[in-house]
């Protein structure tokens, strides 16, 4: 019996190690990493720079998916060309970013700011309560318009240009166009945020304010306004991530997307180290690759579709036991 299992495993390993399968897993992993880094970046910005654990982050991603979908469904018709659809996508992305950044700014000024002097538990309870309210509000709205809130919004998924639905032949492997788009988008997100934080005066002020808010204030800088900008930026990135997810068949715009996006975002930021942007990028790649490898095994060999997701959380548990501060975490993160 044991020898049969072993022989089966060796055979499966041989299949997995075939160059075309390894290449496919690599591309799938990078595409997943692109999505994870998009989802987690806003969360890590807000926690790393402000010390606020934003439980409403997933809801903001979900709203971004609906907003992006709304813009696309409104602008795109059956005769709209592929180039125009990409242009409209960036319009949708900008709209989601702007509206969610505005919502984030309002939430910070109206709610979160009042709790800075309280223990972190208050901020967690506040943002958790906010996520319940936002989810319920969106559920009411989509029900009102006759859309099913718990399944993906198919009309929005249908707005993607044809070349993202086709595969691109890269020699060893044929890669879905959407995967390449997600990889490119993940790289663009990381590069943009990195450049903003390290190459601009405002980024420098944000990093200073996150390390020592009082000292930064004493330099004549309005740190409260900086925190509002950071919260708005994090919420805007969450919204932009949602717009990207709108096209994904496994995510799509739906109310449960709030929880579906929040959980992997937490996994990524905890594995990377709470509050480190570099850690988030590295962890997104690790989680994305783990997900892709396990998906290959559990889809092609072991045939248990729910297990890939479970292994991500297993990775989280292992990290919490072996290195609770995460890969690049520090003992303390930003605050006020």
């Amino acid at each position: 019996m044991m020898s049969i299992v072993l022989a089966g495993f060796v055979d499966a390993l041989g299949q997995f190690l075939r160059p075309e399968n390894l290449a496919a897993v690599l591309v799938d992993g990078l595409a997943k990493a692109g999505l994870y880094v998009m989802i987690a970046s806003g969360l890590t910005l807000i926690f790393g720079l402000m010390g606020v654990l934003n439980f409403a982050h997933g809801s903001m991603t979900m709203i971004g998916a609906y907003l992006g979908g709304l813009v696309m469904v409104t602008l795109v018709g059956s005769a709209t060309g592929a180039g125009a659809r990409i242009v409209f996508f960036f319009v949708a992305l900008a709209a989601s970013f702007a509206l969610l950044a505005g919502l984030g700014g309002i939430v910070e000024i109206g709610l979160v700011r009042r709790l800075y002097d309280r223990p972190p538990l208050y901020q967690i309870l506040l943002t958790f309560g906010l996520t319940l309210i936002l989810d319920e509000l969106i559920r009411i709205v989509v029900l009102f318009y006759g859309m099913q809130p718990t399944s993906d919004w198919v009309a929005a998924q249908g707005t993607k240009p044809y070349f993202l639905e086709q595969s691109v032949d890269l020699g060893l492997v044929s890669v879905p166009g959407l995967d390449l788009f997600e990889i490119g988008f993940g790289v663009l997100t990381v590069a943009t945020l990195w450049a903003f934080l390290t190459r601009t005066r405002y980024g420098m002020i944000i990093r200073a304010g996150s390390e020592d808010a009082e000292m930064t204030e004493a330099l004549g800088i309005d740190v409260r306004r900086v925190f509002t900008v950071v919260f708005a930026l994090g919420a805007g990135v969450a919204g932009a991530a949602g717009t990207l997810l709108m096209w994904e068949s496994t995510w799509g715009a739906s109310v449960p997307l709030a929880a579906d996006a929040l959980l992997p975002a937490f996994v990524v930021v905890i594995i990377g180290g709470l509050g480190t942007f570099r850690g988030t990028v590295v962890a997104a790649v690790i989680v994305g690759m783990t997900d892709a490898v396990m998906t290959w095994w559990f889809v092609n060999e072991i045939r248990f579709a729910g297990l890939p997701e479970m292994t991500i959380f297993l990775l989280l548990v292992v990290m919490l036991v072996l290195r609770p501060q995460g890969l690049f975490g520090v003992e303390e993160v930003g605050g006020h």
Binding site: R201, M204, I205, R207, A208, E211, D212, E214, M215, T216, E217, A218, L219, G220, I221, D222, V223
Partner: protein, 232 residues
Amino acid sequence: MTLLEVEDAHTYYGESHILEGVSLDVAEGEVVALVGRNGVGKTTTLRTVLQLTPPREGSVRFRGEDVTGLKTHEVADRGVGWIPEERRIFTQLSVEENVRVAVPDDGDADAAVEDAFGTFPDLREFAGKDAGTLSGGQQQMLALARGLVGDNDLLLVDEPSEGLAPQIVKRVAEALADAAEDTTLLVVEQNLPLALDLADRFYVLDNGQVVESGDADETSADDERLRRYLSA
């Protein structure tokens, strides 16, 4: 002209009454030392001026304007700089960024960086390195540089010689003396000879109150009046 007036300031940390009616003034161009034992309220006086710990009673006036209750960044914007105890440089920013972040939006950051490295040449070779990698003395230089580039009219300097080797203390004193040529200074300092050497006038704080004051030139470090309040 009087630049800073603190009048009957009562400041608390929670329910702890730290400043019990501190009054002092600093004229434009002066160097004023604030001396006293540990825990008598010297640092709290500076924090009160900056409104980091605003007074519950009394007032702080800068250039004749009542700044009590303003936000700290609004007081700093009016030309009040702070070189805090234990430096508090931004360890995750580079040395150069520590200088740049202190330059006001309308200031010339490149020129400020050049000025800072001209004043403290030792810092230039570390310009691109994280400030957290500097030694204690270099960090104090950087903290001074950061305070000086802000184009401030009044600099609040808290324990600039604390924890530094004598050679570094000498250089810090020289840097402060240079700064005093065009900036007004209010310096908290435990090192009494250094304080009296730098200052034009001094105030002695004890139990949250000003108990002595005078001209630095007319007082020596072994003056019995001062020793009474400074010995542990």
